[in-house]
């Protein structure tokens, strides 16, 4: 918005908004053309990856401000990715190569990552799907990771345009067989993966032992048992081969409704209370069946409400909490705020940013998820009750809430491997339908509203979670937690008093970082996860600043401490002063941007992030000043 003469009251200076279409003129781009023909970038294929179609002289547009520039190159589509091969890959700094993705390059879009494809016809943007009668002059690809690519096809041969456009549309949109997903051909082609040390590996929870160990770790093995009744998925395909149930539960009960209606163990608290989940019994009309269901439920209820089991509080996530549609809708509104076609559009949202953010209600959903987890923790910790999460399939919100609660309660889940194990346990083994929720197979539109559910789900969980995780490891958590005396959150609710007491009480005590950690739930505390959502937006990046600067400084200091410790140890052992050993050179954090390691595309090392560039833009203002003076002159006459 800078330098645009915008701002309320500014007189008619508002820069005309460039229309969507790119009108790159050949004379603006021919400088690059030569280079492009000289530097042919080779396509890097993974084992098992196949080139499907390609087009040359495609112009990848860099859209900054209203000036439109681009780079010529080859656009290719393989069975794994869409890739643009230009001479864009300028020399990277050391720090940047360090974090360079070896599988997916800067200009690669994996087929999975494609969210929407638009074509531009006569300056109009239309969604592309199915068979095309007419081919667009420009291809706009919105990615699920919020990148936006513009490929201008005006200078491409017609034949090639047809081939590449229909190829991309086909391979990103047509329904797919699971077996045809690229990772299978990759796995076949690249068999010799290095063996990993089992100790430095997340727990996979695919053996009975894994579950037994988890039971032991959380001291849940007195009251709960791991069962193998579902070995070979005889009982149910939704459930993992091995899982944990109350020890008093009969195996035949597990089988009775194919694993439905029985409590399945997630995690045990230090006081013996457990977090359980249960998928609902199928909905039936028939009275007879209903009676059977009722008897079954009563029997199960009696089993798990008798000592040694604590009384259980049932938390019905299907009816009393967020709906999946709500989450999906919020996310699709929310992500639009970050899928920016051009900078002008981005500046235009400036004034309304907060209300747009609010109207997406995404942050509110995050808050409600966190709050639900805190409520559950209050039951487990303060009321000494078991909590039974109930959901139709126990594989969406159950995964979300239970993993959030565990991150807050269990310090093990805040370590790198503990966190990976948690995701494996609650999400992968917990049967979250990643394939459907992310619609990896591009199933029909019937499920449109169900699409991509897991994306928001994982994000809603991982944004706060990631926060926790990193802060824990960096001992930064002090900065976020445990300081502000709170005001409370929601009005009239039954558990309000107990909950408030619990929440306030925790926040008024010094936190133990090896124990329970509760997040702040007040509105202002829930913030947009910048590193996730703003990473591709150059306007939002701070060169040489941001949290990244603090982080690299801390890392530097930690390394120095380590080096000194090692030195001390060596001296201790050998009593000899070390000869001036070549101290490892200090890391040069250089001038990393706040979005590091993302947004490598926008590398303007010293250019200030001011859209106004020099005399040209300022010249417009000058005209204004002149006009105004003239106007006054006329008025005086």
């Amino acid at each position: 918005m800078l330098g645009k003469g915008v701002v309320g009251g500014g007189g008619g200076t508002k820069a005309p908004k460039p229309s969507f279409v790119s009108y790159v003129r050949p004379e603006e781009i021919h400088t690059n053309e030569k280079e492009a023909t000289e530097k042919e970038v080779t396509l890097h294929l993974l084992p098992g990856e196949q080139l499907l179609c390609e087009a040359s002289t495609v112009l990848k547009c860099v859209q900054e401000d209203s000036c439109q520039r681009g780079i010529y190159g080859r656009l290719v589509c393989t069975d794994f990715k869409i890739a643009f091969l230009g001479d864009d890959e300028s020399a990277l700094d050391n720090d940047e190569t360090q974090f360079k993705n070896k599988v997916i390059g800067e200009n690669d879009i994996t087929l999975h990552c494609v969210d929407q494809i638009y074509g531009v016809f006569d300056e109009k943007k239309k969604t592309l799907f199915g068979q095309l009668k007419k081919y667009p002059e420009k291809l706009v690809i919105h990615c699920k990771d919020l990148r936006v690519f513009h490929f201008c096809l005006r200078y491409t041969k017609e034949e090639e345009v047809k081939r590449i456009v229909s190829g991309i549309i086909h391979h990103t949109q047509a329904p797919k067989l699971l077996k045809r997903l690229f990772l299978f051909s990759y796995a076949t082609a690249a068999r010799n993966s290095p063996a990993t040390d089992p100790k430095k590996h997340a727990v996979m929870f695919d053996t009975l032992q894994d579950w037994c160990r988890e039971l032991e770790r959380t001291k849940g093995n007195m009251k709960y048992k791991a069962v193998s009744v579902n070995e070979g998925y005889k009982v149910c395909e939704r459930l993992p081969a091995y899982f944990v149930v109350p020890a008093a539960l009969l195996e035949e009960d597990i089988v009775f409704f194919q694993g439905r209606g029985i409590p399945i163990w997630c995690w045990s608290c230090h006081n013996g209370c457990a977090l359980l989940k249960m998928s609902a019994l199928p909905k039936e009309q028939d009275d007879g069946v209903l009676q059977i269901q009722k008897n079954f439920s009563d029997r199960i209820y009696k089993t798990v409400h008798r000592p040694p089991y604590e009384t259980a509080k049932t938390e019905d996530l299907s009816s009393n909490f967020l709906s999946l549609q709500e989450i999906q809708m919020a996310y699709s509104k929310f992500k639009q705020l970050f899928l920016i076609d051009n900078s002008t559009e981005f500046w235009d949202t400036d004034i309304k940013w907060f209300s747009l953010l609010e109207s997406s209600s995404w942050l509110d959903i995050i808050r409600r998820c966190l709050k639900k987890a805190v409520e559950i923790i209050e039951c487990l910790e303060a009321q000494n009750m078991n909590v039974l999460l109930l959901e139709d399939n126990a594989s969406d919100l159950c995964c979300l809430v239970s993993s959030l609660a565990q991150v807050m309660m269990d310090p093990h889940c805040r370590t790198i491997f503990g966190f990976q194990s948690l995701v494996q346990k609650e999400w992968i083994m917990g049967g979250h339908c990643f394939l459907d929720r992310c619609n990896h197979l591009r199933q029909s539109d019937k499920e449109e509203h169900q699409r991509q559910l897991s994306l928001p789900l994982t994000q809603s969980k991982s944004s706060p979670k990631r926060g926790f995780f990193r802060e824990e490891t960096d001992h930064l958590i002090k900065n976020l937690l445990g300081k502000r005396i709170s005001k409370l959150i929601n009005s009239s609710e039954e558990l309000q008093d107990g909950f408030r007491e619990f929440y306030d009480g925790w926040h008024s005590r010094p936190p133990s970082y090896q124990g329970l950690l509760l997040p702040r739930l007040e509105g202002p505390e829930i913030k947009v996860w910048a590193q996730r959502y703003l990473r591709w937006i150059p306007e939002a990046q701070i060169l040489g600043g941001g949290g990244v600067a603090t982080m690299s400084k801390l890392l530097e200091m930690m390394e120095e401490v380590q080096r000194l410790q090692e030195k001390v140890e060596v001296r201790h052992h050998s009593q000899e002063a070390l000869q001036a050993e070549a101290a490892s050179p200090p890391r040069t954090s250089g001038r990393l941007s706040s979005l590091f390691p993302f947004a490598l595309l926008q590398r303007h090392s010293s250019k200030p992030v001011l859209p106004t560039s020099g005399w040209k833009a300022l010249g417009d203002e000058d005209d204004l000043a002149k006009r105004e003076d003239e106007f006054v002159d006329l008025g005086d006459v």
């Binding site: 330098g3 005396i485 202002p524 001038r591």
Partner: protein, 533 residues
């Protein structure tokens, strides 16, 4: 005048409420001429100096049965609640606080009585920024000189005695230029940017009036600026008003530089709000923060509608523009609005922080405040008379200085390693600007400070802050000198609400009201736990 006349009751039994986790503190409440104290009795901790009475922004009293409650909302945004025994005592205490806190006389204010141990009067008043800063400029360029034309404040009452002006312009020309500028604020040097050899100037608006008057000395002065930079240099005039507002100002005798009269200079308009809209925005922000329980769901909408962050954004981006013009375009920049004492100073001081590594050091920042705010004539007494809780209609109040501190905080947040001072410094400055035992922020300009003998009769905040135990709270432990310009992102996505330093952790809350009036946090209502709700 005797303070005793205003004190109806010197003492009462009272309880200070300290939030739900802490028991209330009982004791004898005492009012002195400048302070409110709570003495918990011989066996307990030493007396608590609750606050400087000047810090009270609004007072609310309620009586029920035979006791009363007083809620004090402070200018530093603290909220204190006291339960007092006796209806009469409550009313008397409240009236006394009201009377004492609204005293306007400068020379009876607390800084004139404050005599802390370990500090000597006159220490740290040795910052003489114009002279001191001139030495720095003179080392780099020969185009400027130190002028004492304003020795007796006759040219411009809001400028210091000495100012830095183009060497080519003599004092008589300055006098004529001063007559052509509002408040006598002729263009003076604010910052010399050595890497590009360009300068930043500030002034008041030219008094062109409806007749479009011109002043050749003023024109010569600006021409000399460009000539001094380098042959063919160009300049920008950043007018902090909209073109319409600038044009309208002609009707009341003001105006802006006509293009034809100032060759080589281009005018840019960047409207920044000052005065009442800014004050109201601040009031609404504090309201929204104190009202979290109700507004939880609509928080972002409320945040947006109070417009505070858009003021931050506009200010930062205008400062960036000025800085960019100097560093990238190699142009000189003159900043003015109408009076040249509010948004003008915001822009010139922020542009320096962006460009000048020295101003980001502890000493450099203090010097910047002294030079660009205090000596540059920001009317602190008028602007900071009331804060966000006062019921009085704002007349001259405006949180311009707070807006500056907020922008600096944003810079510090975006560049966590590049400022030598931390948030503690910014909070201390905020607190002291509104109510302080030190004389630094007293009065509206150097002339008034001279009349009141502030320098000889009060202590300087800078010597207060330079004590080792204070320094620890003010420094940024992560500081690494950064020789480059720091370009912030001024997009709303990159700006944050300055929620302020966390309060001392409640489990160590004996510090809550310790004797030294600790630096508290800015938007404390989040945690302020206004006990009345």
């Amino acid at each position: 005048m005797e303070f005793a006349e205003l004190i109806r009751t010197g003492q009462a039994q009272a309880e200070l409420l300290r939030g739900p986790e802490e028991p209330p503190l009982r004791g004898t409440l005492c009012i002195t001429g400048h302070h409110l104290m709570l003495s918990p009795g011989p066996q307990a901790t030493p007396d608590l100096w609750l606050l400087l009475l000047r810090n009270v922004d609004s007072i609310e009293k309620r009586v029920a049965g035979d006791s009363g409650t007083i809620t004090l909302r402070c200018k530093d945004l603290r909220v204190l609640q006291l339960d007092i025994e006796g209806v009469e005592a409550t009313l008397d205490i409240a009236r006394s606080i009201e009377a004492l806190s609204s005293l306007e006389s400068v020379i009876t204010s607390f800084p004139f009585f404050y005599r802390p141990k370990g500090l000597r009067l006159g220490d740290a008043w040795h910052f003489h920024p114009p002279e001191c800063y001139y030495k720095r400029v003179a080392r780099e360029t020969n185009a400027w000189r130190l002028s004492e034309a304003n020795e007796d404040f006759s040219l411009c009452p809001s400028y210091p005695r000495a100012v830095i002006v183009p060497r080519a312009v003599d004092d008589s020309a300055l006098a004529r230029s001063a007559r052509f500028r509002q408040g006598g604020r002729f263009p003076v040097l604010s910052y010399y940017h050595a890497p590009s050899g360009t300068v930043l100037l500030r002034a008041g608006q030219p008094l062109t009036g409806p007749q479009k008057r011109r002043c050749s000395e003023d024109e010569d002065l600006l021409r000399a600026v460009l000539a001094g930079a380098r042959p063919g240099a160009r300049g920008f005039i950043v007018d902090t008003r909209s073109p319409q507002a600038a044009k309208q100002a002609r009707m009341t005798g003001g105006g802006t530089e006509a293009k034809a009269a100032y060759p080589g200079w281009k005018r840019l308009h960047r409207p920044l709000e000052t005065g009442r809209p800014l004050q109201e925005s601040f009031v609404r922000l504090v309201e929204a923060c104190g009202d979290l329980e109700q507004s939880m769901d609509r928080w972002l909408n409320r945040l947006e509608s109070c417009r505070w962050l858009s003021h931050v954004k506009e200010t930062l981006s205008t400062a960036c523009l000025a800085a960019q013009s100097m560093e990238q375009e190699g142009a000189c920049v003159l900043v003015h609005g109408a009076e040249g004492t509010d948004s003008t100073l915001l822009i010139t001081s922020l542009a320096q922080l962006i460009l000048d590594p020295l101003s980001r050091t502890m000493a450099g920042f203090q010097e910047l405040i002294e030079r660009e705010w205090i000596q540059a004539g920001h009317p602190f007494q008028l602007r900071c008379a009331h804060s966000a809780f006062s019921h009085a209609r704002p007349k001259h109040e405006a949180p311009t200085f707070l807006l500056f501190l907020d922008c600096v905080w944003q810079l510090g947040r975006q560049f966590p390693l590049s400022l030598e001072f931390g948030e503690g410094m910014l909070l201390a400055l905020f607190d002291h600007a509104y109510a302080s035992p030190f004389g630094t922020f007293l009065c509206n300009n150097e002339k008034e400070r001279c009349l009141c003998e502030v320098r000889t009769r009060t202590h300087s905040l800078w010597s207060g802050l330079s004590q080792p135990k204070e320094q620890r709270k003010l420094r940024n432990p992560l500081y690494v000198p950064n020789p480059l310009a720091i370009w912030p992102s001024a997009e709303p996505q990159s700006l944050r609400l300055w929620q302020g330093d966390p309060p001392p952790p409640p489990w160590r809350s004996s510090r809550l009201c310790s004797a030294s009036l600790p630096v508290l946090f800015l938007l404390r209502p989040v945690s302020a736990r206004d006990p009345s709700t």
